[in-house]
């Protein structure tokens, strides 16, 4: 029975409690690259602030497994406008590009359906990074390995739920059986539609074989920084390989034409020589 999370972005207030809870439970420090030694200060100075948004990490990284995304849509004259806030993390795809791409078997799916990078097995080849269509998996220079949200693997296997869901004060992040969460999501979507939010949509029912962590958005997924149609890249493997083999055959044919013809000419030349 897969476990997952339903992220109802419509009730997220951007408090970042989930981010803090994630960092605390998983023991994730600030990334050294986010700090600079300043001779005038006694302690390293943080330099990773976005500076133009309440969004403080801007992206998921090897030490930020949760990212509260602030989409601040305001016109120049500040009349009207809206906030869209969405807490983002690994989606624990049912067809996971990172898992497909991992050459060492370090990335595994557990009995609860979550996708985990085994830190003692990962060699840090970084191939899972470009293979995740959502841009979740990241390389950590602290550990020399790929890291991402584990769906609190240790907690959920002890019936504790995820740390972020536990910390969420508005119920925007709900942890549970995916099937139960989907029922709740469908009801919530119907309610929002009836209230006139025509563009409201559920993201993650079909994408990448179904996402165990799925979202309720008020606008198209790209507004929330998610790909409209995420493609699990390994679906192209057969065609890509076939065309490469065709390329190989072409080079082989070229070599035969170029290097063999002479062998046929040779006897003639010898005859002329005689």
């Amino acid at each position: 029975m897969p476990k997952g999370m339903f992220v109802d972005t419509t009730v997220c207030i951007g408090c970042k409690a989930c981010q803090v809870a994630c960092k605390q439970w998983n023991g994730l420090p600030g990334d050294p690259g986010d700090f600079r030694e300043d001779p005038a200060e006694k302690i390293p100075v943080a330099v990773n602030f976005t500076g133009n948004s309440y969004d403080n990490t801007a992206d998921l990284t090897g030490t930020n497994w949760r990212h509260v995304m602030f989409i601040e849509q305001f016109p120049e004259n500040r009349s009207g406008g809206r906030w869209l806030i969405s807490s983002d993390s690994c989606k624990h795809c049912n067809d996971a590009g990172c898992l497909n791409a991992c050459p060492t078997g370090a990335i595994v799916r557990t009995d609860l359906g979550n996708v985990v990078v085994r830190q003692d097995v990962c060699i840090g080849c970084k191939y899972c990074l470009p293979s995740c269509p959502f841009g979740v998996v990241s390389f950590s220079h602290l550990t020399g390995t790929a890291r991402k949200c584990t769906l609190c693997d240790d907690r959920i296997h002890n019936n504790l739920g995820t740390a972020c869901a536990k910390a969420c004060p508005t119920g925007s992040i709900a942890y549970g059986e995916v099937a139960d969460l989907k029922k709740r999501a469908d009801a919530r979507l119907a309610r929002l539609k009836s209230l006139g939010h025509d563009k409201a949509n559920l993201y993650g029912y079909k994408e990448a074989g179904g996402l165990n962590v799925f979202y309720l958005f008020l606008d198209s997924p790209t507004v929330y920084g998610q790909p409209e149609r995420p493609v699990v890249p390994q679906g192209r493997l057969v065609l890509s390989s076939a065309v490469t083999v065709a390329g190989a055959l072409a080079v082989g044919a070229a070599a035969l034409v170029a290097f063999r013809e002479r062998g046929q000419v040779e006897p003639g030349e010898e005859e002329v020589g005689k």
């Binding site: 020399g144 390995t145 065609l239 490469t244 040779e266």
Partner: protein, 302 residues
Amino acid sequence: MSIGAHAPGWEWYYIGLYFFFGGVSAGAYFIGSLAEFFGGARHRGISRTAFYIAFPTLLVTPPLLIGDLGQPLRFWHLLFDARSGFPYVNFSSPMSVGSWALVLYGAMTLLSFLDNLVSEGKIDSAPFARLYSRFPRKLYAAVGSAAGFFIAGYTGVLLNVTARPLWALTDPLVGALFTVSAGSTGAAAIFLVMTWRRVHPAAELEEFERFDRIVKVLEIALAIGIVIAAGKYAGVLFRGPYAVMFWGGAIFLGTMVPLTANWYAHLAGRHARSEAVAVLMACLVLFGGLLLRISLVQAGQL
């Protein structure tokens, strides 16, 4: 806010160089094997030289690959399961299959390299030579050239089968382009080493040029296809240092100039050939092949 896959952060001096050296080795080995199978006795010079190139060039690559890892000492996890120790392969991962192909190809290039040394009397041990002559040379040349083609092409498939925009959109052409480029850089390397070893390269020059005329046209066609396929993400190939590498290095110096010189010599006839020009063109082909790998690997990460 960025949408889509993270860049892996592969360094050009590890991954770009590996793609290049792997391609040169595989291309040379393949041409050498074909010369071995289909060529006459005169082509023995080509196959010998090719097998002298393939193994040492491949020896460069493991340090490059391991150097790029975040946990270099765990490199053996690529081949063996970390817990059980049993051989491990993930068929949906080009990198996993490629690791095994490297092992297989490495073994075949070593066999061919040793065969060269025994045949040319550089290993002067009768028991070893006797033992060695039992290995069927054609068998490992056949297995090695198949594995070599895999080495040349899988690097492109590995890039194509990701979610990075430039690499994903240019699918499925990069694997074919790298394979073709491996053929031309391999031939250039053979020609250069033959010239250096003074193994009558002038006699084979015409054949090398004929081969190059075909693969260079293929290479240009595939490169154009890639730029078209990249569509709105082709911008990274038109701006900045990788645009200079791609257009100036890989396409102009590495492909257009050698192809033009080649055609000129072809049309002007046999006597217009100069070995100095041919050597320079072979150097340009190798240089262009290197910049092709670096520009596509790095531009895809921008």
